[in-house]
């Protein structure tokens, strides 16, 4: 059996070893490398904010946390508190506190080890959902991202409609935050998501901080000055010292700050003061700047004569996946959604899409669900052309990559997964967690037993 190369598709590739049959095939990346992308930006912004994002994710994983004071530890070695639940705040616990002080204030405080890889993965899911609405998405920190809305009016309508679309996309992405799913994120006072829309990032962020849970505050064009004037100084991105100095000057709102001469503020606080004054007066519009998202990666194989043999097609799928995974654009990203499509002999087509619960960059992890779909509902005829496409990618890989942009994250994720597996196994066998992490309590203490403690290593 001989197959010929279709030279119209580049770059071509010859497969020689499929079941010992020599044939030629072609494979191409359907999206050739593009030139350096033009920076994306948008003046009008929708700020999507989830306060205490990491803690909310933990509450979704462990619902018992919602009923008691809880706090997340920092991921670094200082072992201080990072995020504190409202119940714990009520007991006087604050972020930045040492563990010993927090326990002293609230003996029933539940401490959680952070899982930054998980938070990043879930946040990537949220960002991906926002990217379906607008190509201009700027993640700022975990739980806060801006969506550029310039030009979306033609697609969706006014700000109200854009907000609604964004809320629906968020609800659709499967993210779970807090004790309730994001399905109930819209117009739900129990929801953790707050939205703000306005001109520039500062206005939209301030609007989001004013929004009730599950709601959106929209600042109509031209009303920025009025809106900002009533906001407290705390809305400004300032350090505590500057905040204190401004309050000592008798200033309480952005309007009071904007009422001062710009040069006077600049004389007191320098360039930073000038920037603050312009933000307060609504004279600075900081646009949303998008980042390039990876384009879908695809690989295609055209058979010279139609193939119906399942084993041969499975082998061809493996080759296609190998090629797609080897794409330089895929490096540093894991596949979340893969589409397998086939052009059939008499003009028909067949297609299936799988969304992987655990995004992966392993061929087997992608091929297995695709083949399962294939077996469950095979195409009606022989296949002329087979295409694999990775349509959604999430950052981070668990395989070792010397030049990956996220080698550290991958290493962390690998270690954590191994530890979790060990914890699960020990729990099953011994009914008790036997793995602990050493945390600092009072490392400066002269009394040795007060310096360090062991904390359960959570699953």
């Amino acid at each position: 059996m001989t197959y010929k190369v279709d030279s119209s598709v580049l770059p071509g590739m010859i497969l020689r070893d499929m079941f010992g049959i020599q044939f030629s095939a072609l494979e191409s990346m359907s999206h050739p490398p593009s030139p350096v992308p033009r920076p994306l930006s948008s003046d009008y912004a929708l700020c999507c904010w989830i306060p205490l994002y990491a803690l909310r994710l933990e509450e979704a994983r462990r619902p018992e946390l919602t009923a008691r004071p809880a706090a997340l530890l920092t991921a670094d070695t200082t072992r201080r508190l990072w995020q504190v639940s409202p119940l714990a705040r009520r007991a006087g616990v604050r972020s930045g506190m040492t563990v010993s002080r927090a326990i002293g204030l609230c003996a029933t405080l539940r401490l959680c080890e952070p899982d930054p890889v998980f938070y990043e993965e879930e946040f990537a899911r949220l960002v991906a959902a926002l990217s379906r609405v607008s190509p201009v998405v700027e993640p700022v920190e975990l739980g806060r991202a801006y969506v550029g809305t310039d030009g979306l009016e033609g697609l969706f309508g006014g700000p109200d409609q854009i907000v609604e679309v964004v809320q629906l996309r968020i609800a659709d992405c499967g993210l779970r935050i807090g004790s309730a799913g994001v399905e109930s994120a819209i117009h739900n006072p129990q929801s953790a998501i707050r939205l703000g829309w306005g001109k520039g990032k500062f206005v939209s962020w301030t609007a989001a901080t004013r929004a009730k849970p599950g709601e959106c505050v929209i600042v109509q064009p031209g009303e920025e000055g009025t809106f900002l004037a009533a906001q407290p100084l705390a809305a400004l991105p300032i350090d505590p010292d500057t905040h204190r100095r401004l309050r000592q000057l008798g200033l309480r709102t952005l309007g009071q700050l904007a009422a001062l001469p710009e040069d006077a503020v600049a004389a007191q606080f320098g360039d930073a003061g000038r920037r603050l004054w312009r933000l307060a007066a609504g004279q600075t519009v900081e646009p949303v700047t998008g980042r390039p998202a990876p384009e879908p990666v695809a690989a295609q194989l055209t058979f010279y004569s139609p193939v119906a043999d399942r084993a041969l097609l499975a082998r061809a799928l493996d080759r296609l996946l190998d090629r797609a995974l080897a794409s330089p654009r895929r490096v540093g990203w894991r596949v979340q959604t893969a589409r397998l499509s086939a052009a059939l002999e008499h003009g028909g087509s067949w297609s299936t899409v799988v969304t992987l619960r655990d995004p992966t960059a392993r061929r087997e992890g992608i091929a297995a669900p695709l083949l399962a779909r294939w077996d469950a509902a095979p195409p009606a005829g022989a296949v002329e052309r087979l295409t694999v496409e990775f349509t959604a990618l999430v950052p981070g890989t668990t395989e070792l990559q010397l030049f990956a942009r996220d080698a550290d994250a991958a290493a962390r994720a690998g270690r954590r997964r191994a530890l979790r597996a060990a914890v699960r196994e020990i729990l099953q066998r011994l009914r008790r967690p036997m793995l602990y992490r050493v945390i600092e309590l009072e490392p400066w203490s002269r009394i040795p037993e007060r310096r360090y403690a062991l904390i359960d290593l959570d699953e």
Binding site: V99, S100, I103, G104, C106, A107, T108, L109, R110, L111, Y436, V438, L441, E442, R446, I447, P448, E449, R450, R451, Y452, A453, L454, I455, D456
Partner: protein, 98 residues
């Protein structure tokens, strides 16, 4: 730490380097001659002290519940190093890594 012991320690936190009780036989100068760890298990037997190293004192928290300890670093007969302290409030001896 006492708060933690009352509240969450059993659940989440376990202090490291907790002092363990030891029985100590002293010489005329008040320094250890022989020690016996705990009351059970392998440390049941007495171990002779080959030499005494550093001796230091720790006083702290006089404002609430006085902590006064006299630490003694000893080298045991079989070559092991150990740090002991005498609780100067109760007169009890403990072993602890300093």
């Amino acid at each position: 730490m006492r708060n933690a012991e009352r509240g969450a320690r059993n659940d989440r936190l376990r202090a490291l380097n907790v002092p363990r009780a030891v029985t100590v036989e002293l010489d005329d100068g008040g320094l250890p001659l022989r020690i016996r760890e705990g009351g059970r298990g392998k440390g049941e037997g007495w171990q002779s002290v080959a030499s005494v190293g550093d001796v230091w004192r720790l006083d702290d928290e006089w404002w609430r519940r006085l902590i006064a300890r006299r630490y003694v670093e000893v080298i045991l007969e079989h070559g092991g190093r150990m740090v002991l302290y005498e609780d100067l409030v109760t007169g009890e001896w403990f072993g602890q890594t300093s």
